[in-house]
């Protein structure tokens, strides 16, 4: 991205507007939503001039996907290759990005009544074939970006539906909670992406919590690697163990919390702790995980989580939301408390309630 473009794209820090959208009056809210939309739409110099026209004319409540081909280069988004309703491409990655973002849109829309990443019909943009042998997929604040993998460790990232759900959820989190991508708030950002990424997969496969594999990135490794997936929500730390790339470093309990400066303070490491708690809750409640556990987490992300929320606070928030949704002292609320206890986090005590205070 050029320097000029960067300056324009990040002129409006999402967190500031997020707070206004939550707490401001109606007029402030409308302005903040527009600013969020503007920054999210600005992804190419040519588009900037059209931004306001786009905002004015785009109907909301419909799925709009756009796939670009970065053609192994560094420039984003790249060449436009497939828009909403366009026929299939003969390029597998393009079709996977299109289908995967569609399934993610459908999950959020049918389960939570949400209209895209911003709940205002934001177009879902994805670029495939980014760089050469690129072993990553990411959300850059405006769009999803997928590498092809190097073929030695990783296969292409579009292949895995929960990877796509994970990346899109980073967009949802950006708009709803603005969780800072560092340390515990960053690990919670990762956690919400793993939760809803897994739920997108379970929903697409119509699986009960009990039937699901609770793996993130299952099948992303080449056969060279000793491992089934990148992460396991059911058993954090067990997804892979390989002589070349090492062992899955995720803890499953607060006593094993990893203090590190790498990976933005271990955001993909310590997310194992809340991931395990969510798994425990989903299993305890039974049925489809998105119906109750997913709903509690979704409402928590929308109504409670703040940019600097810590693990203990997040746990208390889910407990409070479960009480609101299902009743104080309900079986659901008790299950939330029990699930967090499994990973060493106490909720429903005066102490935890106080820790979560200051933002009602």
């Amino acid at each position: 991205m050029c320097e000029l473009h960067r300056a324009i794209c990040f002129i409006v820090p999402p967190h500031i507007h997020e707070n206004v959208t939550r707490n401001g009056n109606e007029k402030q809210k409308e302005r903040a939503y527009q600013a969020l939309n503007v920054s999210a739409h600005m992804r190419g110099q040519r588009e900037i001039l059209n931004t306001f026209a786009v905002l004015a004319t785009t109907p909301t409540g419909t799925k709009r996907r756009t796939i670009y081909n970065a053609q192994n280069g560094l420039t984003l988004p790249g060449k436009l290759v497939r828009g909403e309703g366009d026929p299939k491409s003969n390029d597998t990655s393009i079709n996977e990005a299109y289908d995967g973002s569609g399934k993610t849109y459908d999950f959020y829309n049918k389960v939570f009544g949400r209209n895209s990443i911003d709940d205002r019909g934001l177009r879902l943009d994805s670029s495939v074939h980014y760089r050469r042998n690129f072993n990553n997929a990411f959300w850059n604040g405006q769009q999803m970006v997928y590498g092809d993998g190097d073929g030695q460790i990783f296969q292409r990232f579009t292949k895995i539906i929960d990877v796509i759900g994970h990346e899109l959820t980073h967009g949802v989190t950006q708009y709803e909670a603005g969780l800072v991508y560092q340390d515990q708030p960053g690990a919670l950002n990762e956690h919400f992406s793993d939760v809803f990424g897994s739920l997108v997969k379970q929903y697409a496969k119509t699986q009960k919590a009990k039937q699901a594999d609770w793996l993130i990135g299952e099948g992303i490794f080449t056969p060279n690697v000793h491992g089934t997936a990148l992460r396991s929500m059911k058993a954090p730390g067990t997804a892979y163990n390989d002589p070349v790339i090492g062992k899955d470093p995720q803890p499953a309990h607060m006593k094993d919390f990893v203090n590190t400066t790498s990976d933005f303070g271990g955001v993909h490491i310590n997310s194992g702790i809340p991931n395990k708690a969510f798994y425990e809750l989903a299993i305890a409640l039974g049925g489809n995980a998105w119906e109750k556990a997913g709903k509690i987490w979704y409402r928590t992300l929308l109504d409670k989580v703040q940019p600097n929320t810590q693990f203990t606070q997040c746990a208390a928030m889910t407990y409070e939301v479960a009480g609101t949704l299902y009743g104080t002292g309900s079986a659901e609320q008790k299950a939330v408390k029990a699930a967090w206890a499994v990973v060493g986090i106490a909720v429903g005590t005066t102490l935890a309630a106080a820790a979560a205070g200051g933002r009602r």
């Binding site: 990976d263 933005f264 490491i269």
Partner: protein, 100 residues
């Protein structure tokens, strides 16, 4: 030239760490890395932006030659294109080393 390379983060957060001595490399790969370094001017970077983006890579790279040693810490998204190409080249070399 001796290079200590660390890449963490990314969706998979599979850390990649290796010590690369360009003198030990075949001439073509040594030349390629030196070209990438010259092009990227890694120590001539503006300060990294404060905001990390989700699933970004995080790099810590130390480069040591006869004139001394310097370390650069940055995210992938904050790096200019020439630096991204250097990171890709170093990552490839690091992975080759790990697998050998």
């Amino acid at each position: 030239m001796r290079i200590s390379f660390e890449r963490t983060g990314g969706f998979g957060n599979v850390p990649l760490r290796a010590e690369i001595d360009t003198e030990q490399l075949p001439p073509d790969r040594k030349q390629e890395l030196e070209r990438l370094i010259e092009q990227a001017r890694p120590f001539d970077q503006p300060r990294q932006s404060a905001t990390a983006t989700p699933d970004d890579y995080q790099y810590e790279v130390k480069i040591e030659d006869s004139s001394g040693a310097k370390t650069i810490r940055t995210t992938d998204s904050a790096a200019k294109d020439e630096l991204k190409l250097l990171f890709d080249g170093l990552g490839e070399e690091a992975l080759r080393k790990l697998r050998s």
